[in-house]
């Protein structure tokens, strides 16, 4: 199961590379202007280049998919990436530039958000957490690229081989193992520091009990913070079969399970995962319909013919962004 879940990172990376190749990402208005992300395409291309020298196998999987991605997938990847970036940026900006804050990306895979965030927020520390195998590949890739090594100001502990920077840590832990995870977080983070948790397609692969215990432990450990999550939801309408078809397809083709897809199958039920009362859950179709400006929409339309918009709607109504804050 670990390998199957860990491999979903290749999908996420290849989707992102495809959206970059086709010009969906970076969004000039939302990522460059609003979030102040620079060199987005360049550091992603550099990561992919370095990945090739670390693992030809992973590189070829990712690269093959990049070439065959459909416009609906590029739209979905765009919505997912941009909505998380904007949520992060808005929260960080609301705290103020000088506020000490730590970002913990649980199940980070090859996500590269740490690069612009560390640049833009000088008092921010960033911790990437994932399976040992994922962290090992990511560390090697970052260390193998002169450009990324310099960008992140990385150092390496020669005895352990661990790669790190003053404000950036990579930590390996199986997030299904609560004690191990909390121990790692205890060692690497500060209990009293304002904390942002990112889980981008993490909770959906965990069993209900493990995922709820993880949320509960983290929220009660840190003094204050916000949890930004992106996940699929199965759908709750009686005739909605999207979630069941998704479970069956992923089981059949990948042996991949989504144990809580039909449990937290609506926005309301997804919000109930978080012990805070203010969890706000928005589906990606609402984001597409209400939060993407007419100009941005026009830009997206110019990239590829979008056929079919109904299909995009069906899919995007089944993916949500959730933000939940807590303060003790």
């Amino acid at each position: 199961m670990e390998t199957v879940v860990q491999q979903t990172d290749y999908d996420a990376l290849s989707c992102r590379m495809s959206a970059i190749a086709k010009g969906y990402l970076p969004s000039p208005s939302l990522q460059v202007d609003r979030c102040n992300y620079h060199q987005y395409k360049e550091f992603h291309m550099e990561y992919l280049r370095a990945l090739k020298s670390v693992s030809m196998r992973i590189y070829s999987i990712v690269n093959r998919v990049v070439k065959t991605s459909f416009p609906v997938m590029n739209y979905g990847t765009y919505l997912r990436t941009v909505s998380i970036d904007v949520a992060l940026n808005d929260y960080l900006t609301s705290l103020g530039k000088d506020k000490k804050v730590q970002v913990i990306n649980l199940g980070c895979g090859s996500d590269l958000r740490m690069i612009p965030l560390l640049q833009n927020f000088p008092t921010l520390t960033y911790i990437d957490v994932d399976y040992d195998s994922s962290i090992s590949v990511k560390s090697k890739v970052l260390w193998n690229s002169e450009a990324l090594k310099n960008l992140l100001d990385l150092q390496r502990d020669e005895s352990t081989g661990e790669v790190f920077a003053e404000r950036y840590k990579l930590a390996s832990s199986d997030l299904n193992r609560l004690e191990e995870t909390m121990q790692r977080l205890h060692d690497l983070t500060e209990k009293d520091c304002t904390t942002i948790i990112i889980t981008e397609c993490l909770l959906c692969y965990m069993r209900q009990e493990e995922s709820q215990k993880l949320i509960g432990s983290i929220v009660s450990y840190y003094q204050s913070g916000t949890w930004i999550a992106y996940d699929p939801i199965g759908g709750s309408e009686p005739n909605d079969r999207f979630g069941r078809v998704m479970q069956a397809n992923l089981r059949e083709s990948r042996n991949l399970e989504m144990p809580t897809l039909m449990i937290y199958n609506s926005k309301e039920k997804y919000a109930s995962r978080f012990p805070t009362t203010d969890a706000s859950v928005t589906d990606m179709w609402e984001i597409f319909s209400n939060r993407i400006s007419a100009d941005e929409n026009k830009r997206l339309r110019s990239l590829q013919f979008l056929d079919e918009i109904e299909e995009l709607k069906v899919m995007q109504k089944h993916y949500v962004l959730s933000t939940a804050s807590w303060q003790k």
Partner: protein, 307 residues
């Protein structure tokens, strides 16, 4: 060339040689060349929406609606792209057209073009199955000869997408030079790309081609051409079909569980001699081989989910 034998092979999703496809496409072109832009069809007839390479669901469609031996058929286009068996689905329909020319009408959809099939899967499928693009090119030549519409008993206008601000009467469609790649704008493009919507007049389409049109445009078109229904496809409908504008327009969708992912049901519309409408709905089947074992569709490099 033994068309019945090819039909039997295609129904089993078996490989067809490049030479056979070439001959098939050439003969289909000769036949389609003589059809008019808007083909006249008599009742009773079964009108079918998008297929999108879902061969096994196409076979179900024929089973559930009587088959060509018993009924006439109009297919509203989008035979290819997205599904795993675009080539087999399209060739099967072409074979039926050659075998029963008066019993089946094939209308061009917005996916029956070189540009769109390069993005949405048909081109890649041919490359995967043949190692070169020849078969894709032969099929694209046929696309250029497909009809733009059909008219049933002078009363039901059939088209893939919808109306065009450049088209007032059905006769105006007859004067289009259809034997070309679908242009990016103009009447021919609109017929294949437009969508009905709750709008007061012609509006820009979110698809980037064609227009949105509303009840006013539909009512005008019906009155001016003395027809009572526009039957079109083009848009996924979760319930398989959807009537709009007091029954003046219907969307028919015939690809169940679209893209093996959407969870929708599919429908076909039968128009009888009294112009009564009868919808038959059907669900996706697990593709099976001759002895009842599930066929795993050609493995795609990626599942289309956000993971």
């Amino acid at each position: 060339m033994n068309v019945d034998r090819i039909i039997s092979l295609l129904r089993q999703a078996k490989h067809i040689s490049e030479e056979t496809v070439y001959t098939l496409c050439l003969r289909a072109q000769e036949l389609l060349m003589n059809e008019s832009n808007v083909t006249r069809v008599d009742t009773p007839v079964t009108i079918c929406g998008d297929i999108h390479g879902q061969l096994h669901d196409l076979l179900t469609l024929f089973d559930k609606s009587g088959g060509l031996e018993k009924s006439r058929y109009i297919f509203l286009g989008d035979f290819v792209d997205r599904g795993f068996y675009s080539l087999e689905s399209f060739l099967l329909l072409l074979c039926y057209k050659l075998r029963y020319p008066d019993r089946i009408t094939l209308i061009r959809g917005n996916h029956e073009t070189r540009q769109i099939t390069k993005v949405y899967g048909f081109y890649d499928e041919v490359m995967r199955k043949y190692g070169n693009s020849n078969v894709w090119r032969y099929c694209c030549e046929v696309f250029d000869y497909l009809s733009l519409g059909a008219i049933v008993n002078g009363q039901v206008f059939c088209v893939h997408g919808g109306l065009s601000p450049d088209i007032g009467t059905i006769d105006e469609i007859r004067s289009i030079d259809r034997k070309q790649e679908v242009p990016h704008e103009g009447a021919m493009c609109d017929l294949l790309w437009s969508d009905p919507d709750e709008v007061d007049s012609w509006s820009l389409s979110p698809r980037g081609a064609g227009f949105l049109f509303g009840k006013n445009e539909v009512d005008q078109f019906l009155a001016r051409n003395d027809v009572e229904l526009i039957a079109r496809a083009h848009q996924l409908v979760m319930e398989g079909y959807k009537e709009m504008f007091d029954g003046g327009l219907v969307t028919v969708w015939s690809a169940p569980n679209y893209c093996y992912r959407c969870g929708n049901i599919a429908a076909v519309l039968r128009i009888d001699d009294n112009l009564e409408r009868q919808y038959t709905i059907f669900e996706a089947v697990q593709p099976q081989n001759g002895v009842g074992n599930p066929i795993i569709p050609t493995k795609k490099p990626q599942m289309d989910y956000f993971l």
